[in-house]
Symmetry: C2
Subunit: 341 residues, 2 copies
């Protein structure tokens, strides 16, 4: 399909998209037809911070909305070194060979902990990125968490509208992005090593209660027995914790992205999860509450942003905060002062 629109035409299309309503229609159709370059352009529009782009992007998403939602959305997290890129490459290639269309979106690629720039990520997934059924896109690092959230979600919708039926969202496993990813995927996977407690120290608190499965990666060669031991440790631990998804038991498994061992089983597990949660209604109710939570968060972000943009507000707030911190002003009184005319 990539041959359908030669590159120059797409460039013109995007130029036009900035000017007329009609061109959003064209871009939308091209995305729906599965054209990769148009999809990339649509995502660039979604990522743009220019106000007139925001409006167009919103129109584009709105127009593509009916064709979205038909994918399995999978989040993948793990400490740096857990082998996320290699795992995604092995897993993604397997699915692509079976005829699935895979979109890989990476969050916080520039994190100092991720050990790789955007280019680095792409290099690590070289074979995958050249497959006709695979689309790889890192989310830009700039901007607020709210901004990254919106861009990633809308990028996901665009990919779905373009026919991608498996979306993989990779994140580095530290900080707030874990909750954000949990808030946009159906299935959340933790790639772990044999480090156990030491390994988890660096991760987000409560990560084990956010995920639907733990895969102990690198279970190959001399490492197999250690991986099996880690698996049973994690299973014991999970007995004490609450599952992330109602009606589903989070458990631990071993795999090796290097040998391919356990990769097929991981895909079976995810398919079982989807089937089970669709049957008991959890799949749909989660998607609904994800959409509403996101909407609420956008409302709050917008209100707070608008509030902070009043002239002198930043200075006023900084002053009130310092008085709260030195104990001369109660937080309640500070808020009263902020809102008094």
């Amino acid at each position: 399909m990539a041959d359908k629109f030669p590159y120059n035409r797409k460039k013109r299309l995007f130029k036009k998209a900035e000017q007329t309503e009609l061109s959003i229609d064209l871009l939308a159709s091209a995305i729906q037809s599965g054209d990769r370059k148009s999809l990339a352009q649509g995502i660039t529009l979604v990522e743009s911070k220019a106000v007139h782009h925001r409006k167009k992007a919103s129109q584009l998403v709105q127009q593509l909305l009916p064709g979205t939602g038909n994918s399995i959305r999978i989040g993948i997290t793990g400490v740096p070194g857990a082998g996320k890129s290699t795992w995604i490459e092995t897993f993604g290639l397997k699915l692509a060979e079976e005829g699935h269309k895979i979109a890989v979106l990476a969050i916080d690629p520039s994190s100092s902990l991720s050990g790789g720039s955007i280019l680095g990520d792409k290099t690590r997934m070289e074979e995958l990125s050249h497959h006709a059924n695979v689309f790889i896109r890192p989310t830009p690092t700039a901007g607020t968490l709210g901004g990254v959230h919106r861009m990633t979600r809308e990028t996901m919708l665009l990919c779905e509208a373009s026919g991608y039926d498996v979306i993989l969202i990779e994140t580095v496993g530290v900080g707030q992005s874990e909750s954000m990813v949990r808030g946009m995927v159906d299935f959340f996977l933790l790639l772990a090593l044999t480090g156990g407690g030491d390994e988890l120290q660096g991760m987000k608190k409560g990560i084990l209660e956010l995920v639907d499965a733990i895969l102990i990666n690198k279970a190959d060669g001399d490492n197999i027995s250690k991986a099996k031991k880690a698996k049973s440790e994690y299973r014991q631990l999970l007995h004490f914790l609450q599952p992330a998804t109602k009606g589903w038991t989070t458990s631990a498994y071993t795999c090796s992205a290097h040998t391919g061992e356990g990769i097929e089983e991981a895909w079976m597990l995810i398919k079982t999860f989807v089937q089970k949660t669709k049957e008991n209604g959890v799949f749909d109710s989660r998607r609904s509450s994800q959409a509403l939570d996101w909407m609420n968060q956008m409302v709050i972000d917008r209100l707070f942003d608008d509030f902070m943009h009043h002239p002198g507000r930043k200075e006023e707030l900084a002053d009130l905060k310092s008085r709260v911190l030195n104990g001369s002003l109660s937080p309640t009184e500070a808020v009263e002062m902020l809102f008094s005319p």
Copy 2:
């Protein structure tokens, strides 16, 4: 001190407090002098929803602020049946006998899970409630989480200004109030039983990473060996999780509120915690960030409330939400529509 102001005089004082600036001064002095009925009146003012009371309450808190902050703030959580009331009674009486002044504040007393009304709580803590050094006050159940948060924090400040040097905040261990309590105390304690994983299933996710100690209660009689086993299970589990407080190792211990075994040790543990966190700066930096977080949350609540009070907003929002839910509107577009003039 309770004899200093006869009841009728206090009643007049409170009446006056509604009318003149001066009476807030009087109420503040009476609270500072340790008068219990005045403290109770101050708290009633803080809990009032009437707009003119809110302003007075804010003034009162502001006036008492210099005398606050000198207590140890302890949160206590656990499933219903973990023996929180009995534990607080035993622990509180011990400290009261040593000359400490103890304030006990209970959050969500009416929760169906707490197994007791306000009166029920008071009955269960009967001996404690009659001690001259002890002040017990349940937080009213009505209102939003934000409202309960503000009332509990301001009640705590009033108690501190009145000379109470140990504040115990009890919560039932489910839902959002756990994070709220963690956001206002120095030390957070989980009272557990020997149920392990089954027991934790009913609690807030990640509760083990919110608390500074786990006390296995009811370690007496035939239950001692089971309690010891639970203790070592929890300790193993904690090895995998992250401590709630930087520089402090959350661990598990046994105790019996019935026999008094382990109660002295719990108090020693809390004192060690306070000393250690004061030395490494965590105590003060936590208090500072708690104040700022609270202030930020109040700003957000206020903005959202104001926004929701526009005429027709609720209906508009409900309509947009249902369109988001049926897939005909993207959340981003819905938010755009909410904010368009």
